[in-house]
Subunit: 397 residues, 2 copies
């Protein structure tokens, strides 16, 4: 049983393709199921049967963004508080002879995965639980990086490079503020520094890991604008001053995270009012995680291999772990880490990846990111646009 | 002399490459110059000398978005009102022996081009003036379509396809409103309908050509949301009710156009307040015109050929015309049209390209657009992102 969870990425389906193709190749399973809408589908016994998915379909799935089987944002209660839901899941799994659950998600999803695994352990229920890492945010601990990050970074760095060209065409331009995903960590925002390697990068980059000082920002942006005639600023949605999030709104999501938005708008309003300089806010928004038309080959292959490795680990009899990515003498190693170590934990951008003034990225970061955005994936095109997997043709159990 | 004018496109430099390579090949010019920042560079005698640009550089230029030589939004006064500026230009052109001016822009730029051409005619100044069409908006009259539109459309349709996948992953999703460029015409917004051909398109599409009715929109969006669990809406920035632009702000640009923005935000606020449904606003913003990482091959080749044809027309002794694109028995024909006929005129999306309910696109539109977004351009990659032309290495005169 595979379940996809949390916000989609451009390569989450590459992991699914890795899981499904390895499960088929292993000949160890009667049926291969995917839950429709993640945990919600498990609870409703709403499953796709992908046991016979053709290799052509798997190849298309591997290059298709967003969760082909549907996703969820499901928060499992502690089993000390409410054991009923755990019993229900065990009953459903028992009914369908589910011998292993592969749960593909980020740190919130690994919490769900961890709780379920512990319950199965405690009750002796014979189902392995393996986490498959997935997040554009790259904030999972105990793994060198996360599938999803490389492709999102390639898209973001490319978009910023193109925006740097576009926003410098006029003699007297603007201060352009570009908002990039990242509530708690600046991994995605940092990625746009890659465009600076060819001189087409942002002038200023601000991550949530560093205190944001509005006056210093306005001064720096104005200085650059006066000198160059334009200024391109990249900010993470989660940047904060000592008073809190710059882009804070009042809403709270189901995991008690403050929902952010509008950082770029807030900063451009300040630029307008305090500096009187022409300005434009750009929010890269959902395309950051959904754009599969410029996949990183490395990222796509990593995602596939993580899925594949998860099946192998389950067949080796392991449970309660997440597949992790590491390096050994320049070789990529797909290892494992205890779910309890990754659940809810957050990996920040290290201090030495940020420049001394806190307003750009240091050289050291490039050694980290350049391998992750390497290589391109050739897509099929139909009607002039990428031809993606069609979930509506999937077979229900 | 080549000048780039107006907002950039992903293929404006392909036209420049067409102009420069044809000018070099013709061996008819002592020097090939490009004005830095369009008309502003002409007035300051600030020119790049591209006479010796290598074929490698030209090939890179052909795949690079945004105006490599800088652009302008210059409004030339009527020469009856202020002849001085015309005299200045003639003096500068005389000093540099400028025998022809190729002006690459949209309908505002063709106005500048037309006025200058008429002045040169009237005064017998020996400089040909030829317009090269360029606009993502596709709103130039007397040409079947405009270079820039195909690539922007390919990017928009792809992005909407990916957003359709991303916004349908949850069982209970949102109403997502996506704002697309187009103040007066809906060409770009219409393009996203291409994603519908494979079932991954927007549920509702609204163009500025049709009266927008807020109540009908809210009703339709809610009906779709209640049925599917999510709804994806594409709106042109310029949609208007009988009271005016939905996204109107108070600012006016140098051509007296009302500056728009925030349509998606306004509509999502209404959805929140009146329907109480989760919603998200997405503004595709500048990447629509700047994204060259997913160029339309047809568009890029058209842009190149329009540039090339402009040089040929000038050498044939023509002036006061813009290169136009037409069709003859399924063959593309690069013809010409009088500048006075295109200056300031606007071509709307025909009524029969819109569905009867005014909330989607009709079949007929696909015959028009599909050829324009056909084919992909292979880019060079460096540091994992597209390798674009470096304007900072250009030689000044």
């Amino acid at each position: 049983m595979l379940a996809q969870s949390g916000g989609a990425t451009a390569v989450i389906n590459a992991s699914a393709a890795g899981v499904i193709s390895e499960a088929i190749a292993s000949k160890s399973f009667n049926k291969i199921l995917c839950a429709h809408f993640g945990m919600n589908g498990i609870l409703k016994e709403d499953f796709f049967d992908v046991s016979d998915l053709s290799s052509e379909s798997l190849e298309l799935l591997e290059k298709t963004p967003a969760s082909a089987f549907g996703s969820c944002r499901y928060k499992l209660p502690k089993f000390e508080d409410d054991e009923d839901i755990y019993r229900t899941i065990a009953k459903i799994f028992d009914r369908h002879n589910v011998s292993c659950l592969l749960y593909n998600g980020g740190n919130d999803s690994m919490d769900t995965c961890n709780k379920l695994s512990k319950y199965f352990d405690k009750t002796g229920f014979p189902c392995k639980v393996i986490g498959v890492p997935k997040t554009v945010d790259n904030d999972l601990v105990k793994t060198l990086y996360c599938p999803g990050y490389g492709s999102a970074s390639k898209y973001i760095a490319t978009t910023i490079e193109e925006l740097a060209l576009d926003t410098s065409v006029y003699e007297v331009g603007r201060i352009t503020v570009c908002e990039i995903m990242g509530r708690d960590t600046g991994w995605l925002t940092a990625s746009c520094a890659v465009a600076s390697l060819s001189g087409k990068g942002p002038d200023l980059i601000y991550l949530p890991e560093n205190d944001f000082e509005i006056d210093a920002f306005l001064k720096d942006a104005e200085t650059i604008y006066r000198k160059k005639g334009h200024c391109l600023v990249a900010v993470a949605e989660g940047i904060r001053t000592d008073k809190g999030y710059v882009g804070a709104k009042e809403t709270i999501d189901s995991f008690n995270h403050v929902q952010l938005g509008g950082v770029a708008n807030k900063l451009t309003n300040l630029i307008s009012l305090q500096l009187g300089i022409n300005t434009r806010a750009i929010d890269l928004n959902l395309p950051q995680r959904a754009a599969a038309h410029i996949l990183s080959l490395r990222d796509q292959q990593d995602a596939f291999k993580c899925g594949k490795r998860a099946v192998q680990l389950a067949l080796e009899g392991q449970s309660g772990i997440m597949v992790s990515i590491g390096e050994d003498n320049d070789n990529t190693v797909y290892g494992e880490v205890q779910l309890s170590e990754v659940a809810n934990a957050v990996k920040s951008v290290p201090k030495d990846y940020v420049s001394n003034d806190g307003a750009h990225i240091s050289e050291k970061f490039f050694d980290y990111i350049l391998p992750l955005i390497k290589g391109e994936v050739q897509l099929q095109y139909k009607y002039g646009i990428p031809h993606y997997f069609d979930s509506s043709k999937l077979k229900k159990l």
